[in-house]
Symmetry: C2
Subunit: 328 residues, 2 copies
């Protein structure tokens, strides 16, 4: 019997690939199976030794897997897979539809409580590490304001919106924090900032044959919800430039808590991420929390959990004594 | 019976005063007593309604206090008070002698386990919030380096060392991170940095009557352990300037984890503090963890604990459902 934590991956897209890679950096865990809705023979892992199975048959593999990392999408996959798979496996997922978290939590919790599994939901960096810093900041400095800035980062949702505009052949969208606003917050000013004052948007667009650039630009910058409330810059580029310069998926941002201790003294706490790859970092967070999910289940902490419920020491491969000695 | 968490303070110096102030920002907690080794009638609280008692009589107050915040020093007070008081109270302290944490933990743990109390030790920002970020950083990015920079901040220990130099009438010492080194780390370079390359030291000194400035300067900059390994700047000022410009206790710093996800992509995580007052911020952290200590004890989690053992949600006055809904 292996002494490593045996991990499965459900769904092998960007996130699933990132999880496979992240697992290779953690000596106490091993990938034992990948599950897919596609034809398993058509899925090529980095490590060809690991078997790929049909997701529909996953229940048969219950005994072989300690933790299952759900790498499906929040919109269509997880609302169904989360509650379903928690009845057979201890799970971790990156559900990120903020508004639907309470109902997703309830569905997964019911399933996991009944099965005595542990299901860590909404893990990643936002929701996830950013959420933690929002809670730490407010708990330590109850009098103050919390600010979240995102970017510079590629936004998948906004890139999709750009690509749906008639006349657009391809494109990407970057969200950028506005430096002047970040600086005011860092300086402890606690400003009230409008949507437009916090972030701006930058698009790189490849036009379809015969499309009118100005018409496309207008359609983008006036698009409600996505762009109308922001200052949006639209740059037209050719398909080669798009492929060469805009294939990476950088992201990041800041959570800043600016507050006063009770004597009126200014205190500023900042957490920031500068990520070369958004999906790879999210995968790395999922893997660390998979270790915690395994331990929580062993401790009898069943049901749905979030990052707020996980003692930080559970994320580390090191023992509690080692952490106290070398990391405090 | 009060529904608030009833808090006591043991020791009323800078930290104890900060805790009294921080409690006033937290509506779910109330200060019910302060304990001192001095004459209780000589101790003046911000809130005159709160009674001050002799620390020697503290055992009598067991039933009146849910959590006791220990505000004594790490060198002489806590090694004795920590284990002693944990036999009667659930406690929180800011023990910060890094090298002695394992033995302190063992002593407090034995006492708290026997008494079924919970003792949260080494709480503050370093050890404390910085320690958490060292663990998060390594767990999420196992391949990489962690860097801690301190400052700009007033160092109590180094200020004391300066004041012990013959010919010095008064003075303070600031630790400053070296910007170029911080920038290299932020850029993901993962440099190897010597002590001298990471921090520099800045002293402001008031000379005693007839003292020789150059002799004092030499004595400071060559002092082993404290200054010899750093570039140290010594500025001579008069007593009025010292009182006017150097009475605050600012501090702060950065914990930066720079690593690569497995595909080789650069990822940088940074946590930083810019503190107007070091003791007031430490007090604020102690109060948030007092809430958690109370809850852990109620949950039956007895014994000594550190920040690594505390699920972040326990720090917040908000319910778990509210945190999931509004903070994830």
């Amino acid at each position: 019997m292996s002494s490593k934590i045996r991990v499965g991956i459900a769904g092998y897209g960007n996130l699933g690939r990132g999880v496979e890679l992240a697992l290779s950096q953690n000596a106490d865990m091993e990938l034992v199976a990948v599950f897919t809705r596609r034809d398993p023979t058509a899925v090529n892992l980095f490590n060809q030794q690991v078997p790929v199975y049909d997701l529909a048959q996953i229940e048969q593999h219950r005994a072989a897997i300690d933790v299952l990392i759900l790498c499906g999408g929040s919109k269509n996959d997880l609302p169904e897979q989360g509650p379903l798979l928690a009845q057979w496996f201890t799970t971790v997922d990156s559900f990120d539809t903020h508004a639907r978290i309470p109902e997703y939590y309830a569905a997964v919790d019911a399933s996991a409580q009944a099965a005595k599994t542990t299901a860590l939901i909404a893990v990643g960096w936002d929701p996830g590490l950013f959420s933690l810093n929002r809670v730490f900041g407010e708990a330590v400095l109850p009098q103050g304001e919390t600010y979240t800035f995102w970017g510079k980062g590629l936004s998948q949702g906004h890139s999709d919106a750009v690509r749906r505009v008639p006349g657009v052949k391809g494109g990407v969208q970057y969200t950028l924090p506005i430096d002047a606003a970040v600086q005011r917050v860092r300086d402890g000013e606690q400003p009230t900032l409008s949507t437009r004052e916090k972030h701006r948007r930058q698009c790189f667009v490849v036009l379809a044959e015969g499309a009118d650039a100005e018409q496309v630009r207008q359609a983008i910058v006036t698009m409600p919800d996505y762009f109308a409330d922001y200052d949006t810059e639209v740059n037209f580029i050719d398909a080669d430039t798009l492929a060469r310069d805009h294939a990476a998926m950088p992201h990041g941002g800041f959570v800043i808590r600016s507050g006063q201790s009770a004597a009126g003294t200014q205190q500023v706490v900042e957490y920031s991420l500068a990520l070369g790859s958004n999906p790879e970092f999210t995968s790395s967070v999922l893997v660390a929390y998979a270790r915690a999910a395994f331990r929580l289940q062993r401790m009898g902490q069943y049901g749905a959990k979030t990052v707020f419920d996980v003692a930080p020491g559970l994320l580390s491969a090191r023992s509690a004594a080692e952490l106290r000695k070398d990391y405090l």
